[in-house]
Symmetry: C2
Subunit: 139 residues, 2 copies
DNA sequence: CTTCATAACTGTAATCATTACAATTTTGTA
DNA sequence: TACAAAATTGTAATGATTACAGTTATGAAG
């Protein structure tokens, strides 16, 4: 696993340091669209010397190299996603969890704005997730 | 014009104070998806006693009453829009302007996530606007 | 026109995510 | 082993947003 991550980082011109591997590994294993603090709080348990600045710097580097995307669905802090494929997100207003939403290609298509050059597309939904709806219904 | 805004605010249980009218008027006249600071900098010229806190509070109130929507396309500061209809946004990475993008209803439709209760839908694009593309091409 | 309760507004301080930056440590290579 | 480059750290600065206490405006009652 670590070898594969090293390979991927190298392919994107990112030297695979210990911290970078751990941070990338966190993203692909948890798949939880974490904030900087979520990554830091988890990893600092096994890397006590870890600095939050390193998490910021590393995710910024991953962004520039195109191996993560930034998600601004949360108003307070940016979230990150190692899944760079075209997909939407749903944020539960109750539990705060962020879910992946697979959308047909026609949802991403848009006509009549040929003069714009689109580099990024984001589709966000907010509301209540299935679990929270159940809980809410019981109250 | 002012009378119409007063009417609209009253309809949404917002007492139409002088400041509230001016802030709402700014939103519908400029249609520029402003940040709090953009609203403040413009209005403080004619209302020298205006406090930025009032702009924050007022836009928060408008949000709660459903007469504006929040746009999180900008990573640094939240933007506001008095157009609450379903439409997408495009943010130019060069000039920072935010444009409205009208999308067909099929773009907003999504199947297979019936268990989610959707309250808000946001579609954002980022890239280069027509004007900045032209300028960029000349360089 | 005064009184008074309530709502609106102001200004300052606190909070919190993010960035800047200089110092220190690690790494790869000769 | 030596050393330059890259990575990491820790602290301070920045900047948007919020908290809050004090002040002002408003509007109804008398
Ligand atoms: Mn995702
Ligand atoms: Mn708009
Ligand atoms: Zn939930
Ligand atoms: Zn532009």
């Amino acid at each position: 696993m670590t070898k594969q991550i090293e390979q991927l980082l190298r392919m994107h011109i990112v030297r695979p340091s210990h911290h970078r591997i751990k941070i990338y590994q966190y993203l692909i294993e948890k798949r939880n669209h974490p904030s900087v603090d979520m990554v830091y709080q988890e990893l600092v348990r096994t890397i006590p010397t870890l600095s939050k600045t390193t998490v910021y710097n590393t995710l910024q580097l991953f962004l520039e190299k195109g191996i993560v995307i930034m998600i601004t669905i949360d108003e307070n802090e940016t979230r990150y996603d190692a899944d760079t494929s075209l997909h939407g997100h749903f944020r539960c207003s109750s539990c705060g969890k962020i879910f992946d939403i697979r959308l047909g290609t026609d949802a991403w298509r848009l006509d009549g704005i040929d003069d714009f050059e689109i580099n990024e597309s984001h589709i966000y939904f907010k509301g209540w997730c299935p679990e929270c709806r159940k809980k809410g219904a019981l109250q």
